[in-house]
Symmetry: C2
Subunit: 430 residues, 2 copies
């Protein structure tokens, strides 16, 4: 029997919205948002889309009207009662009431600020400006919208069975990865694939496949909406945006030098345990750790997000030893461009020496490589970054110069302030 009401209701949608909830975003965005809401609520920040894969001419692939409809829909969203209840009542990282009442009251009233969209030379120039806590929530949905619109454009002309087989192949690929990971002793892995997922439904499928296939080895997802619906842990701590914006707001070099530690001092005050994870590479890992105050060495772990991950982990282990910490009690989270081979290799290298965990992103939720002609569904390197704060450009150096950002003269200044020397470039695929 056809449910007539459902069919009629479904036909009333003007568009098929890609992001349907403000919590269809990474958990760390909300954690950082609360922190920013307390510490820097009035800074005016600009986020900008950056397509590192210049060969993917997004403006030729994605219709501007459809993109505007999706972005407009995003601005119509507000936190639902159930979402608010979940954020207020759920236990995150072992703690209840992670989100304070004043923040939740603000979040319940939030609508995303305006966007600015232009087509330039086959690419979209897409920027968002607003107070830091509100504008920062654009990053993840903006990326998810662009990536999924590209998936839709590439699959638009495919037949029904061709499509079914496309997803059959993609499912088989994910499942073969899950089957390999199932045999990795002591594995702890989470989904970090929201921003560059093939689509929302696909990410949701991947999470469920990991739940069934990996059982307790699958420790959660960064996606709040999926965590809520699938009743798994919401995972994530903090990102480059905190030191980047804080640094851009620094009035002089001395304040700049302290800014990346200052922002973590605030975090230290707010969070404990597994939420105390250092992301050391914003202005070069080696200098950051060398100059770090001792309380930072007491943090639970470190996240390796650029450069050679094995070298990054060795640097962290040596640093902990130098500071009198026991590395076997520390957590190393690998999260940069992971796929099964690398995960297995890193687990074998570091299991027993430190506690190891993986945040698996794009090659979990968007490994459509090789599945259509001209590889039109292969993932690509799209980011959305804070580029300006109160009129000052932000800078990122990273451990991989291919991921560096900012005006050349500011990059030079930051390299001098943070004493960063020669860096090795790594190819950035996703």
């Amino acid at each position: 029997m056809v449910d007539i009401a459902s069919r009629v209701y479904n036909h009333k949608w003007k568009i098929d919205p890609i992001v349907r909830s403000l919590i269809d975003t990474d958990f760390y965005k909300l954690l950082m948002c609360q922190s920013v809401f307390r510490n820097e609520p009035t800074a005016i920040v600009t986020f900008s889309l950056i397509n590192r894969s210049k060969n993917i001419r997004l403006a030729d692939i994605i219709d501007e009207g459809e993109l505007r409809e999706q972005l407009d829909h995003m601005r119509s969203l507000s936190l639902s009662r159930g979402e608010s209840t979940w954020l207020r009542g759920n236990m995150f990282y072992g703690k209840r009431q992670m989100f304070r009442s004043d923040f939740m009251e603000w979040f319940e009233k939030l609508r995303l600020p305006a966007y600015h969209l232009e087509k330039i030379d086959g690419q979209y120039e897409l920027t968002f400006e607003g107070t830091w806590p509100e504008v920062m929530l654009w990053e993840v949905p903006a990326l998810a919208i662009l990536v999924e619109l590209r998936s839709r454009a590439v699959t638009a002309d495919m037949g029904r069975f061709e499509l079914q087989v496309l997803y059959a192949r993609a499912m088989t690929k994910v499942w073969e990865k899950v089957e390999r990971l199932r045999h990795v002793d002591g594995l702890r892995i989470a989904d970090f694939g929201t921003r560059r997922r093939h689509s929302f439904m696909w990410q949701d499928w991947c999470v469920q496949a990991m739940q069934e296939g990996l059982s307790e080895k699958f420790v959660g997802t960064s996606n709040c909406l999926i965590a809520m619906r699938r009743e798994v842990e919401a995972i994530g701590t903090n990102a480059h945006e905190l030191p980047m914006v804080s640094s851009a707001l620094a009035p002089d070099d001395a304040t700049l030098r302290e800014a990346p530690y200052k922002v973590l001092a605030d975090w230290h005050e707010e969070h404990e345990g597994n939420l105390r994870i250092i992301l050391p590479d914003t202005y070069g890992t080696e200098g950051f750790l060398r100059e770090a105050p001792d309380w930072l060495a007491s943090w639970t772990g470190i996240r390796i997000d650029s450069g050679d991950p094995a070298i990054g982990a060795e640097i962290a282990i040596n640093w902990w030893k130098e500071r009198g910490e026991d590395p076997t009690k520390k957590l190393v989270i690998f999260s940069d461009g992971l796929d099964v081979e690398k995960i297995i290799e890193l687990q074998a290298m570091f299991a027993g020496r430190v506690r190891v965990s993986f945040g698996w992103g794009t090659l979990l939720t968007n490994d459509f490589r090789g599945l259509v002609e001209n590889d039109g569904l292969a993932p690509f390197s799209l980011v959305c970054k804070a580029v300006n704060a109160n009129g000052h450009p932000t800078v990122k150096l990273s451990d991989n110069p291919a991921k560096a950002m900012g005006p050349p003269e500011e990059i030079a200044r930051y390299k001098r302030v943070f004493d960063v020397g020669e860096q090795t470039a790594f190819n950035v695929e996703v």
Copy 2:
């Protein structure tokens, strides 16, 4: 929104019936049934299940109670009004009213006769006895029920995503075959996979995939129910059962020698064009063609169902030439144990020399080889054959002694009567 009524209705089913329609069977069964209904309506025939794959201990895998439920359900079926209308009104092989009114009136009242089921040494001994036109309709559903119950038993303990990936892999396999066949010039291929299909829904999927993927190269399905629902051609002509039962009814050697031609003479009277397809191998192709009357050489084509298919086709071509027929106007239908490689090879060998067509069976609708542990879903060689007619055992010699059937002394007699010499054995996989 949940359609509550549908859910409640679905929960009222006591079993999940495998065969839900009397026309969920091969089209040639109905053609032959009509012929038998006219020519031999009172002969009492026994059909028996024969599992040639002794290593598959069906009675250990399939629950007897479940098997009985499915067989009992089969006996509760009768022709629906829509099915009857389709059989009466549809155009088959270019002809309307293929099924005569007297036959349709009988078919509308038909219920399948009783079955006899025993477990012996890990196998089911399953026999059906009744008048030939009624009992013959057990063959295809009995096989489909047993094969699908085995599929269900093997998949019973699999998780939801494990199952989804199983079907994703199977879909990918079928689609890769379809993609290869798409490039074969002049291909004409039909689904002959009802009896040993993985499941009804799977066959239905395969047919739709062929429709989308092969377009006009896909010429139809042997399955009447699927042909009706998917609006494709119902395909099929006649089978070994006609000469086998007719021969068993022959009172002496002289009548026996003529029986395989007599039954085709009746067919000649009833059918024309593409329904005049010789199946020559029941008692050895070479002798059959050598002794065949000239009117048989005027038939449209031949179906090669055992032995080396290339040799069988060469024999047919030479025979037509000897009889003054133009082989390029004749149709050769290959239907024995086909898979993509063989199809491509045979098409390359015979395209242009004869009209070529393929009836693709088990390795279309049940290629689950290699998809689960211990290959527990690989297809196997299960048949259901007429073994007795009015108290006389039936005999089949085939062009492959591995497919021969009947008591040894009767096989010897038939070999003498039909002048069959040495034969080469071929492995029977499906």
